[in-house]
């Protein structure tokens, strides 16, 4: 027999945005049901054990946390959700070290002046250009954030309109001649998944601003500790969560979302449905007739985004012994970011890698004297999906070797220190996230995916349905944590009194 649960709001998926949405709604007094396929909250924001090590799955550096007293921070959001005292933040000193072997090896400290000094030292004669670039970047980031918060166009500094949507590469070319300094300044493009030719300047500006102004952080106990802390804020406020439960359909009546169906046959009725699932999956759970034509047209012009390929490693040596000087190290074959991006569609040896060492500023996952490292590159899933199952493991390990080869440049002899290593491919991401293409940032965040042209957050097209997560906006931790809260707040404002 079918049972029926009646709540004010149901949230599909306990990823970052699902968690902050659920906590915000429940704390505002809406009876909220949170439904999650897995047995823990977090989505990407989780961890797992191998041998003596625990491995962080997804969080490289948490942006936007900020220092006590700074405004507009994730810290402020966590305060509002009552989770700040449940999370131990770990601050990192540096943004990153960027290396092209034989060309440059630059470490940018996490402050504007220090970063400018480091760049000038590595690329002498660029001081004025750096100052000008940073000033523009700060301006564009500031006005972009203001614009997204709803400031009217007349009140916005036109610098945003002149510069914001330009390709990052154009803005860099205008400021600098040396390909090395451009490559170092653009290094975070891999956190967004699109190369300088395809990325809007404002997107890198906001990203660099979020790390330089608010510092890079991590969490003791990893992103799972943060996920569970937010879950507890939701539960303490009286929220109900169902783990190990999948939503199989979103129920509609006369074109309005009115609840969900669960995989155990139960039907949930809810005035508001918030989906933290990917957009293809979310709209796929609706009756075809409930999805307006304009939404289908919009979705068809968006491109399933890039996935990742990661070696989760436990190394039997200290970070210092291995040669890690920063938490985050980018190693690239050369400064040709466009070619590196093109290679994400191929299995040619990885051209660009990100090494995250979680024990320079320890998050507690590796035993004393050892180091937990995530060794990553980006990859689209198409080739991986085409492999025959019999070829898969061989291809996976062969490609993993190419990341290790690249890592040798900064960690000579890295293979000799391996105690544990587990490899995740785009198919692994698809398995655990349920995302098409194993996409880790949602749709490709090129300029067409900009908030100016895509409206999923404000207009999901189905009354009663709300979208929160990387597919409906920016990918990454800070953006999705904030998006869930924002979607919930907008929903609350629209509630009948």
């Amino acid at each position: 027999m079918r049972t029926m649960t009646d709540v004010d709001a149901v949230v599909i998926g306990a990823g970052n945005a699902g968690l902050t949405a659920a906590a915000t709604l429940q704390r505002a007094g809406l009876r909220t049901l949170l439904v999650e396929r897995h047995n823990v909250p977090g989505g990407c924001a989780t961890s797992f054990r191998r041998g003596r090590y625990e491995f962080e799955v997804a969080l490289h550096q948490l942006s936007g946390v900020g220092l006590e007293g700074q405004g507009f921070t994730l810290r402020g959001l966590f305060n509002k959700l009552g989770v700040s005292d449940r999370i131990d933040f770990v601050q990192e000193e540096d943004l990153y070290r960027a290396v092209v072997p034989g060309q440059h090896d630059v470490t940018l400290p996490a402050d504007w002046a220090g970063a400018a000094d480091a760049l000038e030292e590595a690329f002498p004669g660029n001081r004025d250009r750096i100052e000008r670039f940073f000033k523009l970047l700060r301006n564009v980031a500031f006005w972009q954030i203001a614009a997204m918060r709803g400031l009217p166009g007349d009140d916005i500094n036109p610098v945003l309109f002149r510069q914001g949507l330009r390709p990052l590469g154009d803005v860099l070319d205008e400021h600098f001649d040396d390909p090395g300094i451009k490559s170092v300044l653009a290094a975070y493009w891999v956190y967004l998944g699109q190369p300088p030719s395809r990325l809007a300047f404002q997107d890198l500006a906001v990203t660099l601003f979020a790390y330089l102004e608010f510092k890079p952080w991590h969490v003791r106990g990893g992103s799972q500790a943060m996920s569970t802390a937010i879950l507890d804020s939701f539960l303490d406020a009286g929220g109900e969560v169902r783990f190990n439960t999948a939503v199989t359909g979103i129920r509609t009546e006369r074109g309005r979302a009115v609840g969900v169906r669960l995989d155990d046959g139960e039907e949930v009725s809810a005035r508001e449905v918030v989906s933290n699932a990917s957009l293809p999956v979310t709209y796929g759970m609706l009756d075809a007739s409930a999805v307006p034509h304009r939404i289908r047209t919009d979705l068809a012009t968006r491109r399933v985004g890039v996935s990742g390929f990661i070696l989760h490693m436990g190394l039997d040596a200290t970070p210092a012994e291995l040669g890690f000087t920063t938490s985050t190290t980018f190693v690239n074959a050369d400064t040709d970011d466009e070619r590196t991006y093109a290679a994400y569609h191929t299995l040619e040896p990885a051209r660009g890698i990100c090494l995250s060492s979680y024990d320079v500023a320890p998050i507690g996952f590796a035993p004393s004297g050892t180091t937990h490292v995530g060794l990553m590159t980006l990859q689209y899933s198409d080739l991986w999906e085409k492999l025959s199952p019999a070829e898969y493991a061989k291809a996976k390990f062969a490609y993993a070797e190419t990341l290790l080869d690249r890592a040798e440049a900064v960690v000579p002899g890295i293979r000799d220190a391996i105690e544990e290593v587990d490899v995740a491919t785009p198919l692994t991401m698809a398995r655990y996230l349920g995302h098409p293409g194993g996409a880790i940032y949602g749709y490709d965040q090129d300029r067409t995916e900009n908030w100016l042209f895509r409206d999923s957050l404000r207009d999901p097209g189905v009354p009663g349905l709300h979208l929160a997560g990387s597919w409906a906006g920016f990918g990454g931790f800070q953006p999705t944590l904030e998006a869930g809260h924002r979607v919930a707040r907008n929903l609350l404002h629209a509630q009948p009194a």
């Binding site: 047995n39 166009g153 500790a225 293809p280 304009r294 012009t301 199952p389 349920g434 042209f453 409206d455």
Partner: protein
């Protein structure tokens, strides 16, 4: 729909034109994702038993195929699948070759008093259906750091994953040396003996040494246990070779001690998970003054029931018809994770808990024991 501010941005029309120019992506992305899951990681499979081979009086190999004969999910030699039966589940290593995708062989030895192993050996016949998970587990050769010269210490039915690893090397023509030191109680207990000996005779990369604990008068080979000196005599200096260990629980601390005596570093040893500890109270961190045979009350999913303190929570829950997802039943895979809402549970050494699990009260129910009355979120 474009944002009202969009027209104010330089270049907005070029971006809009790019959007308008794009061919529609008409792929069924959710179906593609489902196909990946079905191909590689199906949650459940209903498989047909097509053959049952009696290996020894106490051991049988069950050959499983899909009812439609199509390929099974790929696996890495050494991995296991979990079989569901009689309201519970057990993990069994695949003994067949990963090169043969049309079937899996599961080699099952009777555990004295064991509910599922005896059930399988006694009752499962060709034509029967078994429900399993997909292949799982980390006990496999990892080419990134295991090297191409490895040693395997097997005890009893712990030879099953070694059998798969050897078949993998031969079927795929891998350039890997594999030395199996295989301990059995008596010569009659040796599994796959003829096949192992034939393969070793034919392929110089494969070496097999049988070691018999209670040899009969016919036995001329090595006897006793897999001691440090015997390992060294048979395998030579280990020199950092990866050593795999799979067998009865008692083999693990024993093998670890022998390998330590040889100066072999722990990180060059891989132990296959093998169930909850036979006696959790024997582990040094079992709470003092906690009588294992006394009962407490467990509350979960609206039910309350009594259970002994030394019974794993997962087994106790299954007895009540509450079945969390489960696979390795050895503390490792984390699928049976539950949250302790009230009370205290004891986690055996086997529990691979995360930092946040301990902070927020999660435990792996297969190797967790209720010390006080407890309430669980399952």
């Amino acid at each position: 729909m474009k944002h009202a501010l969009a027209p104010l941005f330089d270049g907005h029309d070029a971006v809009q034109a790019e959007i308008d120019r794009r061919p529609a992506d008409t792929a069924d992305h959710t179906a593609a994702t489902r196909r990946i899951l079905d191909t590689y990681h199906p949650a459940r499979l209903s498989l047909t038993v097509t053959d049952v081979v009696t290996e020894t009086p106490s051991t049988a190999t069950f050959r499983l195929r899909r009812p439609d004969g199509t390929d099974l999910p790929p696996f890495l030699a050494g991995q296991y699948v979990t079989v569901f039966a009689d309201g519970t589940s057990r993990a069994y290593a695949i003994s067949s070759s990963p090169a043969r995708a049309d079937h899996w062989d599961l080699t099952v030895r009777r555990v004295p008093g064991g509910r599922i192993s005896n059930h399988l050996v006694d009752t499962v016949a060709p034509g029967h259906t078994l429900v399993t998970t997909g292949p799982m587990g980390t006990f496999h050769h990892n080419p990134l750091f295991h090297g191409d010269d490895v040693v395997f210490l097997a005890g009893g039915s712990g030879v099953a994953p070694a059998m798969s690893m050897i078949r993998d090397i031969l079927d795929h023509g891998l350039d890997r040396r594999f030395h199996l030191l295989y301990g059995s109680r008596s010569a009659d207990d040796v599994l796959f003996r003829d096949e192992l000996d034939a393969l070793a005779a034919k392929h110089p990369n494969i070496r097999v040494d049988h070691v018999i604990a209670d040899p009969g008068p016919q036995w001329a080979g090595p006897t006793g246990f897999l001691t440090a000196s015997l390992i060294e005599t048979l395998a030579g200096p280990l020199d950092g070779r990866m050593v795999y260990v799979c067998g009865p629980q008692a083999l693990y601390p024993y093998a670890l001690a022998q390998l330590a005596e040889l100066g072999h570093p722990p990180r060059r040893i891989r132990f296959e998970a093998n169930g909850a500890p036979a006696d959790p109270t024997a582990q040094p961190h079992w709470p003092a003054d906690t009588a294992p045979d006394t009962e407490v009350t467990v509350t979960a999913r609206g039910q309350s029931f009594r259970t002994r303190r030394d019974r794993p929570l997962l087994d106790a829950l299954e007895d009540q018809g509450i079945r969390p997802e489960a696979a390795c039943r050895s503390g490792e895979c984390s699928l049976c994770r539950v949250r302790v809402v009230k009370g205290t549970v004891h986690a055996a050494e086997e529990a691979r808990l995360r930092l946040s699990d301990e902070k927020f009260g999660y435990t792996h129910s297969c190797v967790a024991y209720p010390i006080t009355d407890v309430e669980l979120d399952v």
